[in-house]
Amino acid sequence: MKNLWFKRLFGSITVKLIGIGGERIINELIRHHVVIWNVKKLQEGELKFQMFIKDVSHLRKAVRIHRVKVRFIKRGGFPYWLKRLRRNTGLFIGALVAFIIITLLSNMIWKIEIKGASPELEYKMMNQLKQMGVKVGGFQFLVDDPEGIQRKLTAMNEDVTWIGVELNGTSYHFQVVEKEQPEEVEKTSPRHLVAKKEAVIVDYFVEKGEPVVTINDFVKPGQLLVSGLIGREDDKQKVSAKGKILGKTWYTTEVEVDLTTEFELLTGEEWEQMTLDFGNFSIPIWGFSTTKYKHEKVEKNKKELKFFKWTLPVAITSKTVKEVEIHTKSYKKEEARKLALEIAKKDLQKTVPEEAKILDEKILHEKEENGKLKLLISYDVIENIAKEAPIIQEEQED
């Protein structure tokens, strides 16, 4: 009560009492627990002070007992400020409407650009996007986030290798890489084929050029496999060597498998919540459940509001909390080994070229430590080991 900062909030008035005995009015007010401040004597028989608007009725009663003239001089504080504001409603509404319009426009989609797609694919994608709500004039907060659009588009278009989606302000940019690139007319310069890596030649198929190795030859990286110089000894012609040299190569892979693994299973119990966020402060507007699960998985999707290029600290977040159960699974050694081999094979398939064939696998080393099974596996792989190498000028002059 000592601090009167809130006098601004409640609104106060300045009162002038004219007449003898203003003190009696003040005493009367005080008796009714009315707070007054800034009491000043202006001249004989004139008293000025301030009080809360809510206490004016007490003043009226007091005046009825002690006859003095009362003048209200000044009004101040929040209620009056609000009143004054109401007088300027038009301006206020205008500013608000402008703000809303700009905010809406900032959250609209103004441009969709598709790059790298053929005209028909572009048309198809445009239609798909329209179905998803991504169209000029649509609202950004009504469509999926770029990752979601990317996922959907990729799923819908089988003939596309990759689609990059980028949201840049109010425009969406799509970068498309099609699978079937028009076959380029190969215009190759004269070249040899050399070995890419250490291998034993298993088979070869040469279209152009002269093979200099045969089956069961052991080659080292960089070793000449097919020469691009053909013809008689004295009259050699340069050609662009072309062909496949299949060689047996070796890969070693190390894998580690935990003998006990933990994995999460959704139980199906879940609750959803929508919140309106202002900065770090969020107000729930949908879903008030606060059920705490022992183990839970939270999925959050935040949609932020934009104003021009800035992101406003206002966002709508939808949250799904799912209950999960944690299960542990332990493997026997044989199972773990089998799993390790599977993992290793998958890893290998990622590193070797697509047409490579895995011939054989051998476990070189097996070790169990810290609840983990470590395997060192060697693979025999048949793959194309040919690599183009330009014919060096000196060689030709010889």
């Binding site: 203003g22 003190e23 008796r31 707070v35 007054i36 800034n38 009491v39 000043k40 004597k41 008293l47």
Partner: protein, 94 residues
């Protein structure tokens, strides 16, 4: 007579139990900050007020404050803060 007896007992009790006098005996508590402020607690109302002289009713007697440019900064039912240049503080016992 009864009032005097009550006062006597109060005074005796306060002395014996070593209690603060202002709480027990309904005395005013007056705090001054230099000549600038005077803070009067436990008053009984304002008698006269002008920019040179303020007279405040107490539970027993009155308090007269003299000075220049007085403004009552705030006034509550039992407290008041007076601002200005304080020159004299007088107790008046009737």
């Amino acid at each position: 007579m009864a009032k005097k007896w009550k006062q006597k007992i109060q005074r005796w009790l306060t002395k014996q139990l070593d209690l603060p006098e202002d709480v027990m005996m309904d005395f005013p508590r007056i705090t001054m900050v230099g000549q600038l402020h005077i803070y009067i607690e436990n008053h009984r109302g304002l008698l006269t007020f002008s920019d040179r002289e303020v007279r405040v009713l107490l539970s027993q007697g009155q308090l007269l404050v003299k000075g220049e440019g007085f403004v009552i900064k705030t006034m509550w039912p039992e407290e008041l803060i007076l601002e200005g240049k304080i020159e004299q503080v007088l107790y008046i016992n009737e």
